[in-house]
């Protein structure tokens, strides 16, 4: 993997094919924890952290255990178990080693297990046949893309709180329409395929 490929891979995951707004992965936390800026940031950073680690871990699992043993069909259960235990491990590690960070991210970590973007990136890595470095970079970039989307969305939603909205659109409908506008803006990056 040379620098150009890695750069185009990460630009692709962050902007052109943003995981949330274009690929529809990780919508639940995107809608669920985007009411306030600081919670959105906390969730975003946890996701970057877990996605990078999960990409590397599932790559090793797939390369050194599942493929040599011919257990390709066990991919889904094996990946989700690895991700769940990884999240648990990260949580325990942070609690002991970096209590300040644990205090900030604490409640978001368990939620990440059911964030489909994490399992999604693991499966996409094997589909794209990336190597260890490529997988980790793609995982990190996907997480950054998620953070970008959720932080932008949270800053819009904070303002929505003070606006006068038709009764039927209160709550989620207006948030969804907002997300649609954000997604439309991200469509503008479609032309950005210089490296491909």
């Amino acid at each position: 993997m040379n620098m150009t490929t890695l750069l185009s891979l990460s630009l692709g995951a962050i902007l052109v094919e943003n995981f949330v707004l274009v690929k529809f992965l990780g919508i639940c936390p995107f809608l669920g924890v985007s009411k306030k800026m600081d919670t959105a940031l906390g969730m975003g950073f946890s996701v970057v952290f877990v996605m990078t680690a999960a990409s590397a871990a599932t790559f090793c699992l797939n390369e050194y255990a599942l493929t040599p043993l011919g257990l390709g069909y066990m991919q889904t259960p094996a990946f989700i178990l690895v991700i769940a235990s990884l999240v648990q491990l990260v949580e325990m590690f942070l609690k002991k080693a970096v209590p300040a960070l644990y205090g900030a991210l604490g409640i978001y970590l368990p939620l990440i297990t059911t964030n489909c973007a994490v399992l999604g990136v693991a499966i996409l890595n094997t589909q794209k046949e990336l190597d260890l470095l490529g997988s980790s970079v793609y995982g990190a970039a996907a997480g950054i893309g998620f953070t970008l989307a959720i932080v932008l969305f949270a800053s819009v939603r904070e303002r929505l709180e003070f606006t006068d909205i038709p009764a039927a659109f209160e709550g989620f409908p207006i948030a969804l329409v907002t997300a649609a506008l954000l997604s439309m803006a991200f469509m503008g990056f479609q032309g950005l395929q210089v490296f491909k």
Binding site: L21, V22, K23, F24, L25, G26, I27, C28, L31, G32, Y73, M74, Q75, T76, P77, I80, L81, A84, T113, T114, N115, C116, V118, L119, G120, I123, L124, Q127, A167, A168, F169, E170, G171, F172, P173, I174, A175, L176, V177, A179, A180, L181, S183, M184, F186, M187
Partner: protein, 207 residues
């Protein structure tokens, strides 16, 4: 829990309307948005999720006295992942076309929050028959929401329903509806319509 006709009825009205997994509980949105580009895909996704819901609910309800409290989530995920793998393989074998167009979102049924939520909230504390029924009702609600979304998006985005042209000649498809923003807009308007109807019912009840 006795399962007379009334509770069967309320299971279904909950699943379809009052506790509809997509439009009220807002769970499992990723496949809903991604797959609802065409009605055929929507039905395929809905039925796959229904299958997994029924069987995972049944098995988890059967095992509810044996699964230790502390590791229950991990145990549920293993049960769910097993059935998802079965669905994935069945689709690959018998409906390769559908399997290809649903792609990533079939294995991702594992992390669909609806299924884990029903295991945790319902199958864990209820009998086998009721749990299976709950799985069926929730699955039907999920499928109904998917069909509603995909009918709107396919008709406006491609001018067809199930591949058959339905729009008058001269209709120019709005490409946007088939792309990502269309998913958000359609779901937003469907939920707004439901909120409007429920608000109106409440107001009429008060007057």
């Amino acid at each position: 829990m006795k399962s007379d006709l009334k509770s069967v009825g309320s299971r279904f009205s909950d699943g379809l309307i009052f506790q509809n997994p997509v439009t009220v509980l807002l769970l499992g949105m990723c496949p809903v948005m991604a797959v609802s580009v065409s009605v055929f895909n929507g039905i395929g996704m809905g039925l796959s999720a229904t299958f997994v819901l029924i069987f995972s609910n049944t098995v988890i309800s059967l095992l509810r006295k044996f699964i230790p409290e502390n590791v229950r989530i991990a145990a549920y995920i293993v049960v769910i992942a097993t059935f998802v793998t079965i669905v994935d393989m069945l689709l690959q074998a018998f409906f390769p076309q559908l399997s290809k167009s649903l792609g990533l979102f079939i294995p991702l049924i594992v992390v669909n929050c609806i299924i884990l939520a029903r295991a945790e909230a319902f199958a864990r504390v209820n009998g086998v028959f009721n749990s299976a029924l709950d799985g069926l009702a929730m699955g039907i609600g999920f499928t109904a929401a998917l069909i509603a979304m995909s009918v709107v998006r396919e008709a406006l985005g491609a001018g067809t329903l199930l591949g058959v042209p339905v729009m008058p000649p001269g209709f120019r498809p709005a490409l946007l509806m088939g792309l990502a923003p269309g998913g958000f807009i359609t779901l937003g308007f469907i939920i707004a319509a439901m909120q409007w109807a429920l608000n109106r019912r409440k107001r009429k009840g008060k007057l």
